[in-house]
């Protein structure tokens, strides 16, 4: 395992301090602001659940379609974020990560995924949708296989997350929701690259879940069905 880079990172108390400050402070607030600002268009709330109601008005109908579709994409993203947050939480709880620095990374990434969960849930509600429930997982089986499998799974899941957001971006109608999704997409990519590096896979990665890794200078998106199939082994 080549964890020197992560070791160094975790060793840097000043950047860690800044990190937590940002997470708990203004950074977190403005991040939510990005997502919640997406939903300022209040009239979507009532019509989203009854898209047929505005059929006689072409513009409104179009808006409704967008909101309904966007809620579906957001719920798909929420499902993935639930999985990621749950995975990191279970890994930390299991105590399998003995190295304090690697544990710090897992904790940080997990907190970020939880922020994504919270923001996506809030956004779905604002759009008049109903957030999906957290799926039941069986990550214990992964954790039982040992630290290497845990880290590989973390890398796989982050690469998958990045591919999923990339694949879904084109389906998003609301430009503010798109902006928010893009702001999460690149964070998943950062996580994926860091974990790929930790595993000495190179920043693009190798091995891992088929279809989620970049092809040289260009990343690949994955469609929803393929993503859901890929996460199935983790679902109870």
């Amino acid at each position: 395992m080549t964890d020197s880079a992560l070791r160094e990172l975790a060793d840097d108390p000043s950047s860690r301090k800044r990190f937590f400050k940002m997470m708990g402070g203004a950074g977190a607030v403005s991040a939510f602001g990005v997502l919640l600002a997406a939903c300022g268009d209040d009239d979507k709330k009532d019509t989203a659940s009854t898209p047929a109601a505005a059929d006689d008005d072409a513009n409104d109908a179009k808006k409704d379609d967008g909101a309904t579709g966007d809620i579906a994409v957001l719920n798909f993203a929420l499902t993935l974020e639930f999985l990621e947050a749950e995975f990191y939480a279970k890994v930390i709880d299991s105590g399998i990560v003995k190295d304090k620095k690697v544990a710090a990374i897992a904790t940080k990434f997990g907190e970020t995924e939880q922020e994504h969960v919270d923001a996506l849930k809030a956004t779905i509600k604002k759009l008049g949708g109903k957030p999906v429930s957290a799926p039941k997982t069986k990550f214990e089986e992964t954790i039982d296989k040992g630290l290497m499998t845990v880290l590989e799974t973390a890398a796989d899941v982050e690469n998958l997350g990045a591919a999923a957001y990339l694949g879904a971006a084109g389906r998003i109608k609301n430009k503010d929701v798109l902006a928010a999704a893009l702001s999460i997409h690149s964070v998943e990519a950062r996580h994926a690259a860091a974990l790929n590096q930790l595993l000495d896979r190179g920043f693009g990665g190798k091995g891992g879940l088929k279809g989620t890794l970049p092809d040289g200078a260009f990343a690949k998106g994955m469609d929803e069905a393929a993503v859901l199939a890929a996460v199935k082994p983790f679902l109870a």
């Binding site: 950074g27 990005v34 923001a119 964070v187 950062r190 920043f203 200078a217 690949k220």
Partner: protein, 211 residues
């Protein structure tokens, strides 16, 4: 590699939502010509704007300018920076090659859309290559700026296919940023949500390098 400078074969073979880059380039052509509000930009971008009337071509030319800058940055770094470890030099070369591929792909796409690719600006990175530390710091700035730039421009893109292409590039920029940050002992993903930046903000940020 040389052939990619003409036809960007990488783009032609990557699937975008069930289609291919070839199809993407053709379909994106149909979306060209849509206009956006005036962008205040540096002269080479403004020139491209005037020629093409705005829209996705402008955004692609904006991205192209950033990629020229990044590609040139790593090209010079590889030649000039002393004191990089073997792994760091290998990474710098890999990033250089990635950015060069982005340049080729974006320029080819602008042409396919009927636009004129922005010219490569003349660049001056000051003391960035004086040592390892200043190189990595500048690389960090450029890569993070690249992520913010694409994330900010994404919602302005009209064509779903151009958006997919921009997304496939920004994900790579984010990966670059994470690795440079790791080398610098900085958090690879400092924020839960990467902040988007406007073109104006990015142009102000890269202005010191354009000489």
């Amino acid at each position: 590699m040389a052939s990619s400078r003409l036809v960007a074969p990488e783009l032609a073979t990557i699937d975008i939502k069930g289609t291919t880059r070839e199809a993407f380039l053709i379909r994106a052509t149909l979306a060209a010509g849509a206009t956006y509000g005036a962008l205040s930009a540096t002269p080479y971008i403004t020139k491209a704007l005037a020629q093409d009337g705005g829209g996705d071509v402008d955004i692609l030319n904006f991205a192209l300018t950033l990629e020229y800058l990044e590609a040139e940055f790593y090209t010079r770094a590889v030649a000039q920076v002393k004191g990089l470890s073997g792994d760091e030099m290998k990474l710098a070369k890999e990033l250089r090659d990635n950015e060069a591929e982005h340049v080729d792909a974006l320029a080819a796409t602008v042409k396919k859309l009927g636009g004129t690719p922005a010219k490569k600006p003349s660049l001056d990175f000051g003391a960035a290559f004086a040592n390892r530390t200043s190189f990595l710091k500048t690389a960090n700035t450029l890569e993070d700026a690249g992520v913010s730039a694409y994330n900010g421009a994404g919602p302005l893109i009209k064509s779903v296919d151009v958006l997919a292409a921009a997304g496939s590039i920004v994900q790579i920029e984010a990966r670059h940023a994470a690795l440079i940050r790791l080398i610098r002992s900085k958090p690879p993903a400092p924020l839960a949500f990467d902040k988007p930046a406007t073109m104006d903000a990015i142009l102000a940020k890269i202005k010191p390098f354009i000489g």
